[in-house]
């Protein structure tokens, strides 16, 4: 995305700067004038140096709708994380070790590389699944308890709820 207009680049620069400033304030945790001035200088320098990296990836355009769906994604993700931990605990504590592992694959509808990475990370932390590899639009998943090997069914079972939210963000 090198053909971005100047205003979009500037908007991303400011956004990046504000995010780094929030991190700075959280780490120093003081509102003294000197600290804030030094933080503003340092974070501006970092933003200028890394602006080419942050405009080359297909990062989402921030608008209220996509921020809302980011929060929806966060809470879905946390809920799934807790569920997967309970699932692991149940499997580990059962004496007979109820697992039926296998490798399955499915095709995703997501277009950009960044959203595919987010989906792969989310799949790793959902109950019983671990992403092995992503080749173009095909995900290879290690599933601890295989119910089906049909790609459509697998897609419905594992990825659909994250993918619907991610399609709205990106």
């Amino acid at each position: 995305m090198e053909n971005l207009s100047f205003s979009k680049k500037a908007a991303r620069f400011v956004l990046h700067w504000i995010l780094l400033m929030v991190v700075w304030i959280a780490f120093t945790s003081s509102f003294a004038t000197q600290e804030l001035l030094v933080g503003a200088g340092v974070t501006a320098l970092i933003s200028i140096l890394t602006i080419s990296v942050f405009t080359c990836c297909e990062l989402p355009v921030l608008c209220p709708k996509s921020i809302f769906y980011m929060f929806v994604f966060l809470f879905t993700f946390l809920f799934e994380l807790v569920k997967s931990n309970i699932d692991v605990a149940r499997r580990v504590l059962t004496p007979s070790l109820p697992i039926n592992p296998g490798v399955v694959k499915f095709k995703t509808n997501l277009k950009t590389n960044f959203s595919r990475m987010v989906l792969a990370n989310a799949i790793t932390l959902t109950p019983g699944t671990l992403s092995l590899d992503v080749i173009d639009d095909t995900f290879y998943i290690h599933w601890i308890d295989v119910k089906t090997t049909d790609p459509e069914e697998v897609h419905k079972e594992i990825a659909e709820k994250f993918e619907n939210i991610l399609l709205k963000i990106f």
């Binding site: 994380l81 699932d87 694959k105 990370n121 671990l130 092995l132 290690h142 601890i144 090997t149």
Partner: protein
């Protein structure tokens, strides 16, 4: 004993239970992929819960700890699945065959990626 100490202690206890179960899972599971499954999930939520608990514990004396804890939480939630994905990918690239219980049907996709890789090596 303040309310923050009770809540923080509860989170730390919960996290340590999850970490223990993750360790037990790594001990009990039969092969590397299943061990990664147990390890990743349990360590992610366990470490997140412990660090969040420490942040809550100090909320009254130093309220800034919770902000630093939040930053650490974000980095853990982001980097842990990536590292486990890298390990799993390295394992299938070095042709470790996964443990299977009942049928061989579950391994079609595994053979497919291994074939792709062999083609890449030849060309």
């Amino acid at each position: 004993m303040s309310i923050f100490e009770i809540i923080g202690g509860f989170f730390i206890l919960l996290g340590s239970i999850f970490l223990f179960l993750g360790g037990l899972g790594i001990f009990r599971m039969p092969d590397i992929y299943n061990r990664l499954q147990a390890g990743t999930k349990a360590t992610t939520l366990g470490a997140m819960s412990v660090i969040f608990g420490v942040g809550i514990l100090q909320l009254e004396d130093n309220w800034t700890w919770i902000l630093k804890a939040m930053i650490i939480l974000i980095f853990i939630a982001y980097s842990n699945p990536i590292s486990s994905h890298a390990l799993a990918r390295a394992m299938y690239k070095s042709k470790r065959y996964p443990y299977i219980k009942s049928t061989d049907d579950n391994m079609d996709a595994y053979r497919e990626i291994n074939d792709n890789q062999s083609k890449e090596e030849k060309s």
